[in-house]
Assembly symmetry: C2
Homo-oligomer: 197 residues x 2
């Protein structure tokens, strides 16, 4: 039962990566997940809307964990961010430039028309911003600077998916990550300096 639910979420996520929210129909989801429409409504009584919220929650949690895993293994605070951009570039290459983050696409498609989905997307982004800000404050960055830089990180990542996918090149994504690095270095140094004052 839970296996079918997961299969529906996973198939929907993959369809969203290719076609976005409005470009994906329940009948296509039914086919890709090998689950009847009735079964989709059984697990997601709100239909496409509540299924989409589940996809956003699931993908949001996976990416947050991925960031935390990469951050835990990074050589230094800045490397956590640069490594994440490099990982995203690898995902783009391996998937032949499918959308790595359907949340960003869905958010833009429905931000003005569906508050339930908008708020789910908002929660996912805020959870990443929190994770990134926590990584920075742990490295000594002052909290308001950390929060701003965490926003810049998530925004730049989302925007880089657009530029890289339209160019079918990871270069824009890597360039954005590379150029953000000195900002994080400077914030960490600044934080450490003000602590030692």
């Amino acid at each position: 039962m839970s296996e079918t639910r997961n299969r529906i979420i996973s198939a929907t996520n993959e369809l969203f990566r290719v076609h976005g929210y409005h470009g994906t129909s329940l009948s296509e989801i039914s086919k890709a997940a090998a689950a009847t429409i009735g079964s989709i409504y059984h697990f997601f009584p709100g239909g496409k809307e509540s299924l989409t919220v589940a996809v956003i929650k699931s993908t949001g949690a996976i990416y947050r964990e991925l960031f935390e895993m990469i951050a835990a293994e990074a050589a230094d605070p800045t490397a956590a961010f640069v490594d994440f951009f490099e990982g995203a570039a690898a995902v783009l290459t391996e998937s032949d430039f499918l959308d790595p983050c359907p949340i960003g696409t869905i958010a833009r498609e429905v931000a003005s028309t569906n508050d339930v989905i908008r708020l789910a997307a908002r929660e996912a982004f805020e959870s990443w911003i929190d994770a990134a800000a926590h990584q920075l404050t742990s490295a000594g960055v002052r909290s308001e600077v950390a929060h701003d830089l965490a926003i810049l990180f998530v925004a730049t990542l989302e925007g880089s998916f657009i530029i890289s996918r339209t160019q079918r090149s990871v270069e824009p994504m890597l360039a954005a990550g590379r150029r953000m690095a000195p900002l994080i270095d400077a914030a960490v140094e600044d934080g450490l300096r003000s602590r030692s004052d």
Copy 2:
């Protein structure tokens, strides 16, 4: 005749800002533009695809001109970028957080499924990257640094639309612009220093 064509492009652009590409049908465009489906095909024989390319070209050119206008009036090279973020924040507020840039949304929706539209979006983004890079090289920034920073600028702007629209707050957009500023300051100073060596 050309007036009808412009009315169709403008109405389509407004529908894209609310519903994205897949969420907008030709019949809705026909209604919003007060133009028959036959008239839409008269001006855009390729239907929705070629109409979308025309919308992307038109919006792409308008935003490039806007950037150049803001840059020409900015107090210094960095202010051009910060002012653009502030202008984008004002657009978000005035429009009650409608999508300021349907090109970014459409690009993500169809990057894997429609090469004609993908390439039109790519061209629009590259024209903005060129304009931003030109602004930086004119201020003395080395060309490869200028190109990277121009990519970072466009990517960050596009990503900030997502975060700001999901939060219905301009704060993320302003924070991203504010935190990018020292990078541009540093690149300009670095360029001037290496010139005077």
